[in-house]
Symmetry: C2
Subunit: 192 residues, 2 copies
């Protein structure tokens, strides 16, 4: 994985992929799937993600103040489905059951999910206090970003040049996903 | 356009499309492009969208308390690019220049963008007061939803059965988009 300039980290999420959320506290690590994540700011880079109060991930994020967003490729579709359909509260061996492994980033202490095409290490922002209760919404600053240079280089995605199983996943409903598709170029704007 | 059950309205955004944001107040209508939008809740249905304080759209949304999120198809790529690159503050004829037209929904009073494959009429939520200042983040309840039944039926997208120019757009950077791609089915989760 290659580090991504933090000012360009928003581009990892700009096209709306489903993500895996990594979290860790007091020796417990969890990973859940989330389709509701987006960039919140360019510089300093921030993200917003919806994490239900009932989840183990939310407990670990609330306790540690840290989380990761990881962009899984098509090759991980079954792990994403399993991570979204199984609770770490019910299964202490959830990650083994889901065949998901993580590595802790030594600089931030945040667990990153193996096999993903991008990672963002994030620290929860103070404004979360106002929206995490009523709306399950977590706001966080991006403090580290990495991407797989087979699909992300020179500050942007290049899925069209790589294997189809490296494309990002976009969840529709109930285990139905779309892979990201064909490149489309718009005309430049005159007299903006 | 066919009405969508409000409990399934989140599915219009679940796969992460770039949207057009419609707004109107005191006789002025505007449309801007936004890649940073996501569902916030199922029931009651809510959305979150980032709208910069410097925009005309933000003025109109703040004044009216209303906005629409519209999902443009590939066929509208140049209008999306123009709506994202031109400010309604600098051009009172922005919509004509962008070749964008709108229709006001008679029930909610919200302008919906013609040619889009889905629309959500939304009312700004009180919690926005805490996050719109520091983070340009608007939280809103979905009060009306519609989709083009050529691509959305029985509560989900069916892009694989329709023309390529009806696929949703996902912005990467600088006028580069991806269309949503191939359907991918994950295995069901055992022992969840």
């Amino acid at each position: 994985m290659t580090p991504v300039d933090l000012k360009q980290a928003y581009r990892l999420l700009n096209h709306g992929p489903t993500v895996l959320v990594g979290s860790q506290h007091a020796g417990r690590t969890n990973v859940m799937a989330a389709a509701w994540a987006m960039p919140l700011d360019f510089d300093t880079p921030k993200i917003a993600v919806v994490i239900d109060k009932a989840t183990l991930t939310r407990e670990l994020v609330d306790a540690s103040g840290l989380l990761s967003l990881n962009v899984p490729p098509v090759a991980m579709k079954d792990q994403v489905m399993a991570a979204g359909g199984m609770s770490g509260k019910n299964h202490t061996d959830k990650l083994a059951r889901c065949e998901i492994t993580t590595q802790v980033d030594p600089h931030t202490g945040v667990p990153l999910v193996d096999g993903c095409i991008a990672h963002m290490a994030c620290r929860v922002l103070p404004a979360t206090a106002y929206v995490a209760g009523p709306h399950d919404l977590i706001l966080a600053e991006v403090i580290g970003a990495w991407a797989d240079e087979r699909v992300f280089s020179q500050g942007r995605w290049h899925f069209e040049d790589a294997a189809p199983e490296l494309r990002s996943l976009h969840h529709v409903a109930g285990g139905h996903f779309y892979a990201i598709g064909e490149a489309v170029q718009a005309l430049p704007v005159a007299n903006a």
